[in-house]
Each structure stands twice: as C-alpha cells, then as structure tokens.
Symmetry: C2
Subunit: 133 residues, 2 copies
DNA sequence: ATATCTGTTATATAATATATATAACAGATA
DNA sequence: TATCTGTTATATATATTATATAACAGATAT
C-alpha cells in the first residue's frame, strides 16, 4: 500500500487517507483480515499527526470497512463488507448528479462520460483476485 | 428555477447553490443569456446572506458559466460554455475514482455503477431543447 | 436631480472544520 | 517491567464558512 497525501489539496488529509484505503481494498492491495499500521506508525510514515490517522480509522470503522481487534489491532473487515446502504446511495446520487451536470454543460457527451465512469471502475478493481501486489 | 438549500447538509451553501445553477443550465431551465436574480434578491429569497450568493456567482463567473453585464446584470454565459478543461478532467477523475472504489467494495457491479452514471447524466439534461420550464 | 437598484469591495465577527501538540489511560505483548 | 496498541482528553492554531454592516461607482427609472 503506497499512500500519497497532497498537502496542497483542498481535500482534507483524513479524507484523502480514507479514500486511498478504500481504493486499496477495492484493488485487492488490502485484503479482508489484513493488518493496518498503527495510528502512530502510519502517522510518522506519512509525516502527519496521530489524530489525523485516527480520525480516518475511526470513520472507516464506523462505516464497517475496518475492525479493531483488541489483539490484532486494526484490520481490514474480515467478514462481509458493508453493502450499498441508503446513505451511500444518497451520496453517490448527489455527487454523480453534480459531476454529470457539469460534464454535460462542458460539452461532454453521455458516451464520453459513461466511458470515463466505466474506465475508473475498471481501473480500481483491476487487481482484484490477484496477489494484491 | 427552483433552488432548495439544505441547511443541515455538510456541503457548503455556496457550493450547493453553484451545483444547482449548473444543473439548471444542464437541464435547460437556464438558457444562455438568461438573467439571474440579483445577489440581494436571491439571498433574500433563499434566506441567506448576500455574500454567500455573491461567492457562488463570482466562482461561476471565474469558471465561465456566468457573465456580468454592467447593464443586464448577471446572465448565463451567452457565448460558448467552458469546455472540458484539464482542471475539470482532474476533478472528474479524482471524484469518480473515489466513488467507483467505494461502490465496488460495497458490492456494486460495474454494470450497476455505469447504469447509475448514465441515468444521472440523462436525468440532468432531459429537458434540453425543451422550453426550459 | 433624486432615489433606487446593480455588482463589488472592505471590515468585522462568530461558528465550525481541520490539523497539530502533549498527555494520560487500560489492555495486550514481549 | 517496558513497550506497543487504540482511545480519550485538553489545548492551540489556522482556514473555511456564513453572517452583518457599510460604502462605492455605474446604471435605471421616476
């Protein structure tokens, strides 16, 4: 798992980290049951604060993507991943609607937009079933 | 143009307003050259501050979606709408990648995801060419 | 001309979000 | 015992968001 944070980005660090961890799970780089670095360790490696990493872990735990074993520490959800909840569906619709509208106004055709969507889905899960790098 | 702001949402008011104006242009409810309410008027109608509306207008103007005529006030871009810039392309990829990854992890198939993308594109521009309500 | 409306700018304030810093706690581990 | 774990508490600094009040110059209508 290579994690790269953009300190210049307007996207909060804890959110960038959450996204990259989910992308790691999607790609197979992070498999169910895999241990994650401790909050202190990862924070030091990324050059950020312990609490920023802890916030990402805590939110991902609340969403069901991570679990905390008193023994093993933080691990990728070993059982069933969370499904398509109403909350996620709402977020998906809200964000896709904004992106689709702007794409349309900018002259992007439906096919170009849909093709881009399909490509990005395919890219993120390309490694699934492989050895996870 | 019906604009509804969610005061509970974590999405900033000025961003909600920007999104809905772009969606209005995409749907055809707002046509090139159409006048927009004054910042004071719209602010009062929405029950928010003048500067919040002004921020939305200013950002949309910077992006090329709106123009300010010293005479006509603020109007929808009457000439060519902005195209698919490198900046928009980057935003599109960044946001779609995060959404696609989470959708995949939650068990949403590529077809279900792509279908949702196509549907939302179609919905927003459905009214194009019509009388724009 | 007077009054009113326009976008725009300046200044100030309050609330919230983000990120860091330091410290401590209980449970697990070597 | 010493060290590591996630977790919680407290404090601070900065940036973002939203509001409030005021003023300016250009345009419009009475």
């Amino acid at each position: 798992m290579f994690i790269e944070l953009d300190l210049q980005s307007e996207t909060p660090l804890y959110e960038q980290l959450m996204n990259q961890l989910i992308e790691g799970i999607a790609s197979g780089a992070l498999k169910p049951g895999d241990p994650l670095p401790s909050v202190r360790n990862l924070a030091e490696n990324l050059g950020i604060n312990l609490h920023t990493v802890n916030k990402s872990y805590t939110l991902l735990k609340q969403d069901g993507f991570l679990q905390v074993h008193r023994k093993k520490g933080v691990v990728v959800q070993p059982d069933a991943m969370p499904g398509v909840t109403a909350e996620f569906e709402a977020k998906l619709v809200r964000q896709l609607r904004s992106l689709a509208a702007e794409a349309a106004v900018r002259g992007m055709t439906e096919e170009a937009f849909v093709t881009q969507c399909r490509k990005l889905y395919g890219d993120t899960i390309m490694k699934r079933g492989g050895d996870g790098q």
